[in-house]
């Protein structure tokens, strides 16, 4: 399944908004076959912050592990937010290059 982050907004910031997005995403993953990947597409979003991404990606990774794949991570603020999650919190996500 592909989740397009641009459908959640052009600028993705703040924990409350991130948590809302996570709740919306997780509701769509209920019937997902156990082998299917969850692809999070970063394309088309103008800016990200660590807080928003942490609320969305951290619990998804906890549940789906390596089945979670990040696609189109080209925006600089997205790359740096993921770097912060990695350097400060030790969180590594599978990024498709």
């Amino acid at each position: 399944m592909i989740i397009e982050l641009k459908k959640f907004g052009e600028d993705l910031h703040g924990r409350p908004s991130g948590k809302d997005a996570y709740d919306s995403i997780i509701a769509r993953l209920n019937d997902l076959p156990k082998t299917e990947h969850i692809i999070i597409d970063f394309g088309g979003v103008n800016s990200f912050s660590t807080s928003w991404l942490d609320e969305v990606l951290t619990p998804l990774q906890k549940t789906y592990g390596n089945r979670l794949i990040l696609r189109n991570v080209t925006n600089l603020s997205a790359k740096m937010s993921l770097d912060t999650l990695k350097e400060v919190g030790g969180k590594n996500f599978r990024i498709e290059y």
């Binding site: 052009e10 600028d11 910031h13 703040g14 924990r15 409350p16 103008n46 800016s47 990200f48 912050s49 660590t50 807080s51 942490d54 951290t58 925006n75 600089l76 603020s77 997205a78 740096m80 937010s81 770097d83 912060t84 999650l85 350097e87 400060v88 919190g89």
Partner: protein
């Protein structure tokens, strides 16, 4: 004004980096008299660090350059302790609700910056600013001492954003999760270097200020951050945190992002 003891080794380090100036040079930089500058320090408009042994005060070069920006002075007044800012005076800068300020930063700041810098650079400016906006609102939720909300101003010519709040500051918040913290300066250092948050539990959260730091070190120019009597300066391509106990404590948090 409280006397502030400065570690002379630290002072030498920041003087070497051209971060502080003695009063004569500071007055010359601003083109004002020494006595006027001294009064500005006494009124809390600008901060100094004191070399008690030599009886000298030093001014931060970054603050001296920022004070030419009127909104900087307004923001400094906004965070003065025992002050009740006249909200009419702040109508263009005061945002009581987080959503309104989010719109201002993400939409208006982008429009203002488009064509001046790359879209990627804009995304990093907005990312750092939004972490500071988030901190101002969420970390004071339910505990605002007087005025709820944040001060925000952007100066496109001088390339700076100011975000300030009259909240409880870092020390009171972080003390909830680390009782050993006893000073603003320790709380400030911890907030910018460790994954710690007064909100939520279980190693979750606590990235915002570290992310703002990374944005500045890797891409932007400078971050000046004050809470209580603790001031921090972070500069591009420099992993050091320059922290000082300063002459004029504030209420809440005060941040200037230079980009």
């Amino acid at each position: 004004m409280p006397l502030v003891v400065v570690d002379l080794k630290e002072m030498a380090k920041i003087a070497d980096k051209n971060l502080v100036l003695p009063i004569g040079k500071a007055a010359k930089l601003l083109g004002i008299s020494i006595s006027t500058l001294r009064r500005m320090d006494d009124r809390g408009i600008i901060d100094t660090v004191r070399d008690v042994e030599r009886g000298k005060r030093y001014f931060f070069k970054a603050d001296l350059l920022n004070i030419k920006f009127n909104e900087y002075k307004l923001a400094r007044e906004w965070v003065q302790p025992n002050n009740h800012p006249d909200l009419k005076k702040y109508k263009n800068f005061y945002y009581p609700i987080e959503a309104t300020l989010t719109g201002k930063v993400t939409i208006e700041a982008r429009q203002m910056l488009q064509g001046l810098v790359s879209d990627d650079y804009i995304s990093v400016v907005i990312s750092a600013a939004m972490e500071l906006v988030g901190n101002a609102f969420y970390h004071n939720q339910g505990q605002w001492p007087d005025i709820e909300g944040a001060f925000y101003a952007i100066d496109i010519t001088g390339r700076r954003i100011i975000i300030a709040d009259r909240g409880v500051g870092l020390l009171k918040n972080l003390k909830l999760v680390r009782k050993s913290l006893n000073s603003h300066i320790d709380a400030l250092k911890v907030a910018f270097t460790e994954q710690i948050s007064s909100r939520g539990v279980g190693g979750h959260r606590g990235y915002g200020l570290k992310h703002a730091r990374m944005c500045v070190v890797r891409e932007l120019k400078k971050l000046i951050y004050q809470t209580g009597n603790a001031r921090l300066e972070i500069r591009a391509k420099d992993n050091n945190l320059y922290t000082d106990v300063v002459s004029n404590p504030i209420q809440g948090c005060f941040a200037v992002i230079e980009f």
